[in-house]
């Protein structure tokens, strides 16, 4: 957006506008252009989400409004506009109304640092990767506020569970995020993508990608971590008292967040716009990014519609006793191996600009380390699964035994 802003600014100053005002207006145009991308995609996303869920569950899904139901979202929007907005009398009005706005805004704000092509991006902040983690914490706070301001026991309980889930899964998320930051030696999203010219980071550390994928699935509150909704236990969780458009905003924020995570993963691990012919035209680069992000997004939908929900104790145990130690171990092993290889000159000091050939030894060693870790982990998981099955079998046998005793007496 840089050239566009300066160009626009100069144009306005030339035609006699005040310099400060011109700068402000050109910035505003930039903001609207960048934020337009997520706002337009979210309309499409709602349709995709419903259609994919329907197909996985062997239904047809929306097919009435427009061709293959494409206009369904607009019909929904019109319906939501006409819905009565019920605010409970005991709610804290200000906070109650602010929560959906903050929730949606926290997701849109991530797009400020998302580069679309090598030349088209909002801003390329030096702290880009940290920026989107920091911004996401507003979303967590919004959920807490929504739960508290509703003044409803279920909403508060739901919010508490969700918030403790969100903060817990932020730990492995950030430790996994540290791997691309470390490999690229920069937090700028543009640098992270450029550092993958030689080799995608998903190849250098598949484990980091898997951890990031799982914890971002949890961060968006999708199955198997969908404590956010938990219809059967908490009525609807933190947004139980919300209706009409405000409820719609929480939902749109969630849909958008899932897609945003897909794009972020494409940028951090799959080389963003890097692909054949990306340098020919920004459109091709943009298409590559969209394709990679879209595929990752579809797999999250697939996962969401396939696996059942976990219990909160299982979710917490999985995070603190499995993902967190694993993500720390991954960071330690990757960084140690890379440093040793840099010291003996097998690995380049700087990934940005390093070609494929230079990176072959690095790739092989890092991949071997990750492979060994994965094999070891699968062993642990298999043992854990056997234990759990044995335990549950024992409990069931004991129960059956007790019932038989009772029948005899």
């Amino acid at each position: 957006m840089d050239e566009l802003c300066t160009g626009l600014c100069r144009l306005m100053v030339d035609s006699g506008a005040d310099a400060g005002l011109a700068q402000f207006l050109s910035l505003l145009v930039g903001v609207l252009l960048v934020s337009g991308v997520p706002l337009l995609t979210v309309i499409l996303l709602i349709w995709i989400e419903r259609k994919v869920a329907a197909r996985i569950q062997d239904r047809i899904g929306p097919n009435r409004v427009g061709p293959i139901g494409l206009m369904q979202t607009f019909a929904d929007l019109l319906k939501l506009l006409g819905k009565e907005d019920i605010t409970p009398t005991s709610a804290d009005r200000w906070l109650y109304n602010a929560a959906p706005l903050v929730s949606f805004a926290s997701v849109v704000l991530i797009w400020a640092v998302v580069p679309f092509t090598p030349f088209h991006y909002g801003v390329d902040l030096e702290i880009g990767a940290l920026f989107f983690v920091a911004v996401a914490s507003f979303g967590t706070l919004a959920i807490m506020v929504a739960g508290w301001a509703s003044n409803n026991k279920y909403a508060l309980l739901g919010a508490f569970r969700v918030v403790s889930l969100l903060v817990s899964y932020e730990v492995p998320l950030v430790f996994a995020l540290l791997v691309p930051v470390l490999l690229a030696g920069s937090m700028s999203m543009l640098d992270i993508v450029n550092a993958q010219t030689g080799m995608w980071f998903v190849v250098l550390s598949p484990l980091a990608f898997v951890i990031f994928y799982v914890s971002s699935q949890a961060e968006t509150g999708r199955a198997p971590f969908d404590l956010i909704e938990a219809e059967s236990e908490l009525v609807a969780g933190f947004n139980i008292e919300y209706s009409g458009m405000k409820f719609g905003m929480f939902f749109a924020a969630e849909f958008l967040h899932v897609f945003t995570n897909g794009i972020l993963m494409a940028l951090l691990f799959f080389g963003g716009w890097l692909g054949p012919l990306y340098y020919e035209s920004p459109l091709i680069a943009f298409a590559w990014l969209g394709l990679k992000g879209g595929v990752i997004y579809l797999t999250t939908l697939w996962l969401r519609n396939t696996v059942p929900r976990l219990r909160i104790d299982q979710i917490m145990a999985f995070n603190w006793k499995f993902l967190v130690p694993l993500s720390i171990a991954n960071l330690i092993f990757i960084s140690a191996a890379l440093k040793v290889m840099q010291e003996i000159g097998w690995a380049p000091r700087d990934m940005i600009g390093a070609g494929f050939g230079e990176l072959v030894p690095t790739t092989v060693v890092l991949l071997l380390i990750n492979g060994a870790m994965i094999i070891y982990l699968l062993g642990i998981l298999r043992k854990r699964g056997q234990e759990a099955r044995r335990e549950s079998q024992a409990t069931r046998a004991a129960l059956a035994h007790a019932a038989a005793d009772q029948g005899a007496a």
Binding site: G20, I127, A134, F138, T140, L141, M144, V167, M187
Partner: protein, 170 residues
């Protein structure tokens, strides 16, 4: 003072910081107090950006809004119903004098050692990058000892917290 993006930003963040602080001391509701505190700390994050230290701004938001706010809320909810504190703290004059004295001490005690009677300088043109910060943190001539001490402190904090908060019969 000329009107530009920096002065506007400074005004906005000052309103956030002071307004948030005012909200904290006037509200009777502990949860609302937490939110006001976060508004205030958000303003401080804005100051960091104006001082060209975006990394510290992100840290401010990540640690305070992302963690401390949540922690305070959890702590508030651990207590019994104290949403609306009935009893008022009425000794206004002693607290007024006390806060005034504290304010003066801070005003003199912090400004004099820093500026030493000179006019305050504006932020330096040179902006340190995060990379330089990272290099300095682990440099043997830099801050490696404080860096390791921070780790020990964090470990101690965690062990202490678990020791205090753990269940008696666990």
């Amino acid at each position: 003072m000329e009107l530009n993006a920096v002065t506007i930003g400074f005004a906005v963040f000052t309103i956030f910081t002071l307004g948030g602080g005012f909200g904290v001391v006037t509200t009777r509701n502990l949860f609302q107090g937490t939110i006001w505190l976060m508004v205030s700390l958000f303003g401080v994050a804005g100051y960091f950006i104006l001082l060209s230290a975006p990394f510290l701004a992100a840290v401010q938001i990540l640690v305070y809004i992302g963690a401390i706010a949540i922690l305070i809320t959890f702590a508030v909810m651990l207590t019994r119903s104290v949403t609306r504190i009935k009893a008022r703290y009425v000794r206004l004059i002693p607290s007024f004098i006390g806060s005034l004295v504290l304010f003066l001490i801070l005003l003199l005690g912090i400004t004099i050692p820093i500026f030493g009677g000179q006019l305050p300088e504006s932020a330096p043109e040179y902006v340190a990058t995060t990379r330089e910060l990272g290099t300095a943190l682990v440099d043997e001539n830099g801050f490696v000892v404080p860096f390791m001490l921070a780790s020990v402190l964090l470990t101690a904090a965690m062990i202490g917290a678990i020791f205090i908060a753990r269940d008696e019969n666990a």
